[in-house]
């Protein structure tokens, strides 16, 4: 191996020396995440402030990791928590079990549970990892509640219900692309994403 081989080797290094850096200076900056990133959940509320969750336990039933614990109860008549007879009075998600598969979001009949893009959190204590209803329910502006151990970057709390159905629950092809999205606190009725609605995609996709 001659001297020239070393030079040849360093050639690669020197060529790249003045290239743009690829390293992200996390945590100061963050690489952009896809629109439908599966982060931690939020429990949404209706436009009038009532909780969307009706305590039906479908999310808990469908959860493959059994990380959701829900208990339903009779809605108090004079001060209802959610519309209808029943509301979820206990709602806990164990983030040391959750695999962010979004099955709960698909199962939810009221779009109460959606996944946000928040994922930068870690725990020093097992019980920290169990998010309770008071932590999951959105605040009065319809934004998720920041927990002390969570790291949020600019804009992370937007589009917390960004995941949307591409097909109807019955699976009929006629519904594909039509978004059935109820209004929610702080956001009203969200407009469909690009490519979601048949009409929207024809307008914006052109």
């Amino acid at each position: 191996m001659g001297m020239l081989d070393y030079v040849r080797g360093f050639k690669v290094t020197f060529e790249r020396l003045f290239d743009e850096r690829v390293t992200t200076e996390y945590p100061k900056e963050k690489r952009p995440k896809p629109e439908r990133f599966h982060g931690r959940h939020v429990l949404n509320r209706h436009e009038d402030g009532m909780e969307k969750c009706i305590g039906c336990e479908l999310c808990a039933g469908v959860c493959p990791a059994k990380c959701i614990y829900v208990r339903g109860s009779d809605n108090p008549v004079e001060d209802p928590v959610s519309p209808g007879e029943r509301f979820g009075f206990v709602y806990e998600i164990n983030y040391l079990r959750c695999i962010h598969c979004d099955m709960c979001v698909e199962a939810c009949p009221t779009q109460a549970i959606t996944e946000s893009k928040l994922f930068e959190f870690s725990f020093t204590n097992r019980s920290d990892a169990i998010y309770t209803k008071s932590e999951l329910v959105v605040d009065d502006e319809g934004k998720p509640r920041k927990q002390p151990w969570e790291l949020w970057h600019e804009g992370d709390d937007l589009n917390t219900s960004g995941w949307m159905r591409a097909t109807s629950s019955a699976g009929r092809v006629e519904y594909e692309g039509v978004v059935g999205w109820s209004g929610e606190l702080g956001h009203g009725v969200r407009s469909p994403e690009v490519g979601q609605s048949a009409t929207a995609s024809s307008e914006e996709g052109a």
Binding site: Y95, R97, I99, H100, E120, F121, R126, S127
Partner: protein, 189 residues
């Protein structure tokens, strides 16, 4: 008792030793050496964390050490089977003090979706875990967050971060129960 016997822990805490403690903590957290313990898919993300885009070396974690003797941080990345648990413990025991453990991903933390007899339901049954990183798998950013949390933990020496201030959490309290008594006044013999 003293510096010669117990090392740094043997030092009395006073105005002179305090800066030394700060220095030691700084040195420890800026030179964590992870042992490779990639067990499953989480290991891919762990490798990604070491690669150029995220570059763990920024925090002085230059390389994953193949020998536990050269490591002081174990990142358990993946589901730990019952057969793997003693191996994991052996590697942990072989690491030099002081040492820390990050449980990466839900499988390592709680068994995750593998709620079955083959998988250890939480690696903290085998080794003491300092930081849990949620996710399936956690992305490099979540792992970095966990590492930063560990840095913070080393810096402050704080053991828990439980949020009494916001009243959240599963509220698991084990209280001393008073001895139950049945009052039978008027009916005793």
């Amino acid at each position: 008792m003293g510096f010669l016997d117990d090392g740094l822990e043997g030092l009395q805490h006073n105005v002179f030793t305090a800066p030394i403690e700060e220095l030691v903590k700084w040195a420890r957290r800026r030179s964590l050496m992870p042992a490779t313990f990639g067990l499953a898919c989480c290991a891919i993300e762990m490798m990604a964390t070491g690669a150029a885009h995220y570059d763990m070396a920024r925090y002085g974690m230059e390389t994953f050490r193949a020998s536990p003797r050269q490591a002081d941080l174990m990142i358990v990345a993946g589901r730990v089977s019952q057969k793997m648990a003693p191996v994991l413990r052996t590697v942990y025991d072989q690491m030099m003090e002081p040492k820390w453990v990050i449980s990466m991903g839900v499988c390592a933390s709680s068994g995750g979706m593998f709620n079955n007899y083959a998988i250890v339901q939480g690696v903290d049954q085998v080794v003491p875990v300092d930081v849990y990183a949620p996710g399936c798998p956690p992305g490099p950013e979540t792992l970095l967050h966990a590492i930063l949390t560990l840095h913070e933990k080393i810096r402050t020496g704080e053991l828990t971060q439980r949020r009494e201030e916001n009243g959240g959490g599963a509220a698991i309290h084990i209280e001393e129960q008073p001895t139950p008594v049945i009052i039978t006044s008027g009916s005793s013999k």
